[in-house]
Amino acid sequence: MLKLIWLIPILPLFGVAINGLLGKRLSRRAVGLIGCGVVLLALLVSAGAVLELSRLPEDARHFETSLGTWIPMGPLGDAGTMTAIPWGFALDPLSAIMILVVTGVGFLIHVYSIGYMEHEEGFARFFVYMNLFMAMMLTLVLGSNLLVTFVGWEGVGLCSYLLIGFFYDRPFDARTGLSCADAGRKAFLVNRIGDFAFVIGMLYLITTFGTLDYRAVSAAIVGGGEAHHAMLVAVGILLFIGACGKSAQIPLYVWLPDAMAGPTPVSALIHAATMVTAGVYMVVRMSTLYAHAPEAMAVIAVVGAATAIFAATMGITATDIKKVLAYSTVSQLGYMFAAAGVGAWTAAIFHLMTHAFFKALLFLGAGSVIHGQHGEQDITKMGGLKSKLPITFATFMTATLAISGIFPLAGFFSKDEILWGAWSSGNKVVWGVLALAAGLTAFYMFRLTFLVFYGRYRGDPHTFDHAHESPKAMTVPLMILAALSVAGGWIGIPAVLGTTFFGHDVNAFHHWLSPVVASAHAEGAETAHAGASLEFALMGVALAVALAGIGVAFVIYRKREGAAAAIAARFRIVYAMWRNLYWVDEFYEAVVLKPFYAISRFFAGFDRFVIDGIVNATGIVADIAGQILKLFQTGYVRNYALAFLMGVAAILVYLATV
């Protein structure tokens, strides 16, 4: 099965081809079957390949295959021989986790979409785009060199654009006047900025090392990396800027909240579980490079932590159910980057995996609520839905507990590992910021749950009467994801708990992943040697902060009526800042977009008047020349004869004088 890993990205393309060409003629059932079927096949092949990989000895878990040479080139940089970039796919423990998460969660979301998109136009088109996305994402994670990854990187960006603007003729945000198509465009353009930095980073890398293959680059860095330290830092930051675009970190996060214009399964798959995690994957993949460029890691840690808390504050005051989850995603991605920035690579991927489970569940649950509410997304018009949508409520609550980091659900273990990684690598400030953000996370997630499922219904009574639980196609994936949100963290139980309760280290996740990432702490950073008691203490602090957040949310939103409004009135300025998202979009509009539009208008005018003018002038000149020259055609033969004579005379004069 290992030999078939190239098939994994190709299988969804079959779905694209069939549904793309024949989709309009097939029944919805068939389209859904094909769309989900190819993903299921990819999942099975992935599972088989990973199983085979796990049977290999720990230090030899790497399998590479190639579909041929893509770009043959001459020798560059340190590499003395011909370099050629192949269409290479490689499976190692890191990509193994990624493909399982992508195909697994992806499959569940595809099945969910059959129910969710039931009443929508363009059913086949939706599955075509989703399958294309899966193909691109799998290319991204299975690529054996940066360029194949970049193909997938760009591909998922394209699919994101296509899927966000799926309802291309609908308006989206009444406050800003954005339509769904505009949102798609915004996502694509902001991504592009990151991609530009990514490409420059790749160019630096290939001109220095002569190769973009991950293993070769890592080997070259370990072998002679110190000579290129400045370049490595530059590359690290450039690649990270690309990751900021793709994974919505400051300052390129602005597209993610507006990406909620797309259908909810899209938000679940692309903007929670997979595409936005591509940046984290890339940073961890390049961990050797970052381990040799501590300055770049510092940048990553700072940006990640800042984003985590920044986005959390915006989630506290949002009123659209999907937007709350979007800000939450940005915040959680900040966590993952902060983890990578302090050197806790396995913790970052662990959180990526658990986050995929509970965030996808949250989005799908939100979709179920919206579906039952016939399109209503404003949480101020919801409430008391727990009796009407029981399964949705149960799974949503599970996910909320998980994301808040409550023991023993998945989120607890992954968040805890990140926090411990921050503290133990000496970055206590990062630890503090992340702990505070954890509290805020618990707060706004429970705020959301309370406002949607508890209390009195605040919307149109008619809608409440018609609210119903979603069909099986939607609720079964919810239940599966809920199970994963509960149990998913148990493969990563930290060593200290494992030894206490089981007698030995049962952190299977860490063991699986550690051979392929750089050592746990950046060179030169202080390694705090702490005992198990400190670790338990910090665990306790994290749990306490989470419970505090839940408690505050309970008091404000359940115990006292009107408490929320009173606090908002009291801290007017802070509330306005959070509610208006720190006016970042407006800032970009004024500082970046308006000058750009002005320049574009200038050039458009230039193009119209000067360049088109020159072209038109050519025509006009030809016309005028014609008008003048036609006067020679008098029609009188004698004039023609005279002209003839003059020509002959001229020739004779020339010949006589030469």
Partner: protein
């Protein structure tokens, strides 16, 4: 005794006069007559060259030119007649349909 150069210049002058006539006259037949003038000027030059030792070809050439002039005059006059039948005039300035 006779200066050949004079004869040749004479033929050039005659030719030029013929050209002026072709360009200035309005009647088609008058133009044909001026063309005959030009042809004769050419013949004169040829004969001069023959007398100057230009070989037998020169006189043969005159022979042929004369024949050609006859044929051309015949055909040209036929055209003029056809034109007269069409237009009622031999004025070449009346035949100006190929103008802009």
């Amino acid at each position: 005794m006779i200066d050949p150069r004079l004869v040749l210049v004479l033929s050039a002058v005659l030719f030029a006069l013929g050209v002026v006539g072709v360009l200035t006259r309005r009647g088609a037949i008058s133009i044909l007559m001026c063309v005959e003038l030009m042809l004769n000027a050419g013949n004169l030059a040829f004969i001069t060259f023959a007398r100057m030792g230009g070989g037998p070809e020169a006189q043969i050439f005159v022979f042929f030119v004369m024949t050609l002039a006859a044929a051309e005059a015949a055909a040209g006059l036929a055209i003029v007649i056809a034109l007269f039948r069409l237009r009622g005039t031999t004025d070449v300035d009346e035949i100006n349909l190929l103008k802009w």
